[in-house]
């Protein structure tokens, strides 16, 4: 036994020994906990709050939340109440199950974003809906879609999913008015399979079916938002999927092109050859948003790649966000981010998959080229190239990734940096903005993330804050660009809207 091992044993056991009693078990949650659940909900089993990215970059904290540390969220109840009031004041729309939806966009999205510094103004976010305790016991969950204006902080509309369905992720086009919402329907209505020795039992596993909805905004009109189901032929997979044993058909990522005309979907291919060594297989499909037609289909069988984060405890049964796909180069290509863990050494790769080149052999590896590849760091010391940051937030020009880094020395002012790192050799990283954190605000941790990046990564929509940071001087949401921070008034909805997925 080394000296360090011995010291760790003695230290941890000394710390643990200070706990000599525990409070009694409370099996019925208090009312305030139920309030909190609307903010920090449970996700289907193992669903990891993985990063959505590019246009719909998920805050890094947006992870499936399986616990409710009340102290952390104690301030969230009034915010939730405020959000509810706002939501009641706007339209609440129940989405009917419309097989083919209404009329779909036939023309490219061409409007110009009207937020600060050319950033998107409107967002679509998932918001957990408070269900009854009985429903929760049965593994039923529901996420609504909230559409809002980040400049005015007004909510434009709230959409409720059809029966047995939850909205699961959102992705945005570049026009600030067009989004696609990914939804999953459970055959049983439950999103928690019955388990036996940690393994789902066959007769307790639901079949999950994917669907996508086009969300179009018309701010200032009588109907500021409309939702219609895309005519993409749905497919299903087993709810027993896990990171180690994904189910054929399991969807990993969804990304809407900047034009709003094409939808890219990454999944585990449901083909006979993929029944064995399923984790080695990946597929990227591109659909027409207007017709639902399958335009492209690439498949790979590679034991040295994974589209999900290597730290994922499980591959989300119902995936969150768009972690691995980004439309780049004016929709000519997709950036596909992969990673692979070999004995603790994690390799990250970003590949360019040309969609418009006409090279369409169907092989994901041969039709794509490597933009960046390297070993990812474990110790949070090398900018954006981190194990926990992967898949990264790739800019739409395909040459940068953006992230946060920080220093919290506790005894002196610290800072949170919003950085953009090049994916091409010879370019230097850019410090987009540095937020200072005073020592007195460093207790209680910090919650921060990059929510959206401009094509070149020089302008970001970010948030940072935390319980130790007073709203007046420590909780921030807004646009950062060239060293300047422009606040946006999303504070009232911040906790509710940044807890799951948000796309700008």
């Amino acid at each position: 036994m080394s000296r360090e091992e011995d010291l760790i044993r003695s230290t941890t056991r000394a710390i643990a020994s200070a706990v000599r009693e525990v409070p009694p078990l409370r099996l019925e949650p208090a009312a305030e906990e139920l309030e909190t659940k609307a903010v920090a909900p449970r996700r289907p089993h193992g669903a990891r709050p993985h990063r959505a990215r590019p246009r719909s970059a998920r805050p890094r904290s947006a992870r499936p939340y399986s616990g409710t540390p009340r102290r952390w969220w104690s301030w969230s109840a009034p915010l939730t109440a405020a959000a509810v009031v706002i939501a009641l004041a706007v339209s609440l729309v129940l989405v009917k199950d419309m097989p083919n939806g209404g009329a779909l966009r036939k023309t490219p999205a061409t409007a110009t974003p009207s937020g600060p510094a050319g950033t998107p103004r409107y967002y679509a976010a998932l918001k957990a809906t408070l269900l009854s305790n009985h429903d929760e016991l049965k593994g039923i969950i529901r996420y609504d879609v909230v559409v809002g204006d980040a400049v005015t902080a007004k909510t434009l509309a709230t959409f409720t999913p059809p029966a047995r369905t939850t909205f699961q992720s959102v992705t945005a086009a570049a026009d600030d008015l067009t989004f696609v919402v990914f939804a999953v329907t459970s055959s049983t209505g439950s999103f928690q399979p019955r388990m036996k020795k940690g393994v789902p039992v066959a007769n307790g596993v639901a079949t999950l079916t994917a669907s996508w909805y086009l969300l179009r905004l018309a701010p200032g009109t009588a109907h500021p938002a409309s939702l219609s189901r895309l005519p993409i032929k749905p497919w299903s997979w087993s709810d027993a999927s896990s990171y180690a044993n994904p189910a054929p058909g399991q969807i990993i990522a969804t990304a809407l092109s900047g034009s709003g005309q094409e939808l890219a979907v990454a999944d585990i291919p449901d083909i006979p050859a993929a029944k064995k060594q399923t984790p080695d297989w990946h597929e990227v499909k591109v659909f027409s948003v207007a017709s639902g037609a399958l335009l492209h289909d690439w498949i790979e069988d590679n034991p040295a790649t994974r589209l999900a984060n290597v730290l994922g405890d499980t591959l989300a049964t119902v995936p969150l966000g768009t972690p691995a796909l980004t439309w780049i180069d004016n929709d000519r290509a997709l950036a596909v981010a992969m990673s692979y863990d070999k004995s603790g050494t994690v390799t990250g790769t970003v590949r360019r998959l040309d969609v418009a080149a006409g090279r369409d052999s169907g092989n994901l590896m041969t039709d794509s080229t490597v933009i960046w590849s390297g070993t990812l760091a474990w110790n949070q010391s090398k900018g954006c190239f981190q194990v926990e940051d992967w898949p990264p937030l790739v800019g739409a020009d395909g040459t940068t990734i953006s992230c946060i880094t920080w220093v919290m020395p506790s005894a002196s002012p610290g800072h949170v940096d919003f950085d953009t790192y090049p994916l091409v050799a010879g370019r230097q990283p850019t410090l987009v903005y540095r937020g200072t954190i005073l020592p007195e605000n460093q207790t209680g941790g910090l919650d921060a993330g990059v929510l959206w990046a401009s094509p070149s990564g020089d302008t970001l929509i970010v948030d940072w804050g935390g319980p130790g940071l007073k709203a007046a001087n420590g909780s921030h949401f807004g646009v950062v660009s060239h060293g300047k921070f422009t606040p946006l008034p999303l504070q009232a909805n911040r906790a509710a809207l940044l807890g799951a997925d948000i796309a700008f």
């Binding site: 080394s2 000296r3 360090e4 091992e5 010291l7 760790i8 230290t11 941890t12 710390i15 643990a16 020994s17 706990v19 525990v22 078990l25 099996l27 449970r42 904290s61 499936p64 399986s66 616990g67 409710t68 540390p69 102290r71 952390w72 305790n133 016991l137 049965k138 593994g139 019955r194 388990m195 036996k196 020795k197 039992v201 290597v310 730290l311 994922g312 405890d313 863990d341 004995s343 603790g344 474990w378 110790n379 949070q380 010391s381 880094t405 920080w406 220093v407 919290m408 020395p409 506790s410 005894a411 800072h415 949170v416 207790t443 209680g444 941790g445 910090l446 919650d447 921060a448 935390g466």
Partner: protein, 189 residues
């Protein structure tokens, strides 16, 4: 105790309560070591048992309830810490520079609020306090690996199953954590 024997709904509360009485102290201690915050640790353990209770009628059989609950608690700790700090923004930690430099720059024994909350009530030597501080500064996965390996004395394989990663990842994370703690101790001596 075999949950399957008592999984009927009318007995769910009694069964889970019995499990709580048997294992809660150890699990709270584990969560305290992981998070450094007793109140958060108690909440995490409560949630783990509440989750078990809520799913009682869906759980056909669990023959190793402690392992099941331990995974729940480790996941809860990880989630709580991510909630507190999406990227591990713990007071006293840093990442814009080299972590080793940050650790080296840190004053061993200079307790932060979080460290204080867990360790203030026990007498630790200067060396142990330095180890406690260094543990707080480790990336979450490295901290999980060393706590499970050396506090609970789990094997590499058991640790891997609890963390949901490969044994190789556990070995790598443990090696890196020991190296970082060793450097901290060296700087502080």
């Amino acid at each position: 105790m075999d949950i399957a024997e008592t999984r009927m709904s009318p007995g769910a509360a009694a069964s889970v309560t019995a499990l709580y009485e048997e294992h809660s102290l150890g699990l709270v201690r584990l969560a305290v070591v992981m998070t450094g915050d007793r109140a958060v640790a108690e909440d995490i353990v409560q949630d783990a048992f509440l989750g078990l209770y809520r799913r009682w009628d869906q759980v056909s059989e669990i023959t190793a309830p402690l392992a099941y609950l331990r995974v729940s608690v480790v996941n809860g700790c990880r989630t709580a810490m991510r909630r507190r700090s999406r990227t591990g923004l713990w007071p006293g930690a840093g990442a814009s520079g080299d972590l080793d430099e940050e650790i080296a720059a840190a004053r061993p024994g200079a307790s932060t609020g979080l460290v204080e909350s867990a360790e203030a009530s026990v007498l630790l030597s200067e060396e142990q306090r330095a180890v406690a501080t260094a543990l707080r500064r480790l990336p979450p996965r490295q901290r999980e690996a060393v706590v499970l390996r050396y506090y609970l004395d789990l094997s590499v394989e058991e640790t891997a199953r609890t963390m949901g990663v490969s044994p190789g990842t556990v070995k790598s994370a443990t090696h890196r954590a020991l190296a970082a703690i060793g450097r901290t101790l060296k700087e502080g001596s």
